[in-house]
């Protein structure tokens, strides 16, 4: 079943009547509004003029398992790196469309509003809903929850975290946004039997500590507690 829309290079522009009549409309994330399907050209272009392709769950399985077969244990790091590059590129892409749509720079706006706006195209494309917790931002880390991760939902309960692509995407995007090197780790995953995925974003030192605790059997809640109490190892 086709359920995921993969966004990629810039394509012919989105020119639906709704957009032509109301180019500054912000609530444009309904399926028929966000995507323009052109049957004659065989293209799917989203509101931000990015070309999308429909993929199946089999595609995701093929991507993950094929990569594992090719590079073995390095597949996790490879997916993370792909995500990082995607996130970095998307930060520039986002900056452009945000400024065009809202007539202001990304640094002249409420941070949570900015982040919600960044994630909405991903939600519309089938990457899942998110929830972001900026409570510990001043301490240099934060948590992101993803509900319905396309990767985890597809792979099912395999007993380990699988959303490396998402972790990389967050690391890449936020590194560009805050202009400071950030890393990300998934500390709880739907594919471990949990109800949703949880990511920790922060400096390398904290991510290394979280990774160590995770390997020692700590839960996301343990990790959250230890980080909030200022522990590093």
């Amino acid at each position: 079943m086709a359920n995921l829309l993969w966004s990629g290079a810039t394509a012919p522009s989105h020119q639906t009547l709704t957009k032509l009549k109301n180019p500054k409309k912000h609530n444009h994330y309904g399926f028929k509004e966000f995507f323009q399907f052109d049957a004659t050209q065989g293209t799917i272009v989203d509101w931000n003029d990015s070309q999308n392709i429909l993929t199946t769950e089999d595609f995701i399985i093929g991507l993950v398992e094929g990569l594992e077969e090719e590079v073995g244990d390095a597949s996790a790091a490879t997916m993370y790196t792909i995500g990082c590059e995607w996130g970095q590129k998307d930060a520039f892409f986002f900056e452009k469309w945000f400024e065009k749509e809202f007539d202001r720079g990304i640094r002249q706006t409420n941070l949570l509003f900015l982040l919600e706006t960044w994630w909405w195209p991903f939600t519309a494309q089938g990457w899942g809903r998110w929830e972001i917790d900026l409570g510990e931002r001043k301490q240099g880390f934060m948590f992101i929850n993803i509900f319905d991760s396309a990767v985890a939902r597809t792979l099912g309960d395999v007993g380990k975290p699988v959303c490396y692509l998402y972790a990389g995407l967050f690391a890449g995007f936020f590194t560009e946004l805050v202009r400071k090197q950030l890393s990300c780790i998934e500390i709880q995953c739907y594919s471990m039997g949990e109800t949703y995925c949880k990511f920790l974003l922060g400096g390398q030192e904290r991510i290394d500590a979280a990774s160590f605790w995770l390997n020692e059997g700590a839960t996301a809640r343990d990790i959250e507690k230890r980080l909030k109490s200022g522990e590093l190892r």
């Binding site: 994330y29 309904g30 509004e33 409420n110 949570l112 509003f113 919600e116």
Partner: protein, 157 residues
């Protein structure tokens, strides 16, 4: 309604629909005149309704129109008018599902980003009281459930 028609056309592919499957169309047909009347009444009273909601809220708690030191009355008015018009359109088409998909899911995240749930909660509670005074009961019965959906989605933490 629009979603129901779409579902009907999918469910009845290659066959005729049963009476039971068509009953929602008959219900809609019966309520159509009342929906149009209600829609027109809401359109005519929109400015007054929003003004009364604002006055009631201000009397209850003036800080509802402040975000830190900033006066957000104009922003509140813009958002409230927009939501009110979407609600009226959803009532006319009997289509709260499309309202959710095309507007409320998105607007909910934006209101949360600005920490506006308390203000939204009060807005759509007070709005139900005010709207009730402008409509006869059968008209109110059409729009109030939609305003309640707004309250639940935008006004709860």
């Amino acid at each position: 309604m629009l979603n129901q028609i779409q579902r009907l056309s999918q469910a009845t592919e290659g066959r005729y629909a049963t009476d039971e499957e068509l009953s929602f169309l008959a219900d809609y047909g019966r309520s159509f005149d009342l929906r149009v009347q209600t829609y027109q009444k809401l359109q005519a009273s929109e400015a007054l309704i929003v003004q009364q909601v604002q006055a009631k809220m201000k009397a209850m708690d003036a800080t509802l129109f402040q975000s830190g030191q900033e006066d957000i009355t104009n922003k509140w008015k813009r958002d409230t008018l927009r939501t009110f018009r979407y609600a009226a359109a959803a009532m006319l088409a009997d289509d709260p599902e499309t309202l959710r998909e095309r507007f409320l899911f998105w607007f909910q995240t934006i209101m949360r980003a600005f920490g506006a749930q308390r203000s939204c909660g009060v807005t759509y509670t007070v709005m139900q009281e005010v709207v009730k005074q402008h409509l006869i009961p059968p008209q109110a019965n059409l729009i109030l459930p939609i305003l309640e959906v707004n309250r639940r989605m935008l006004g709860t933490v």
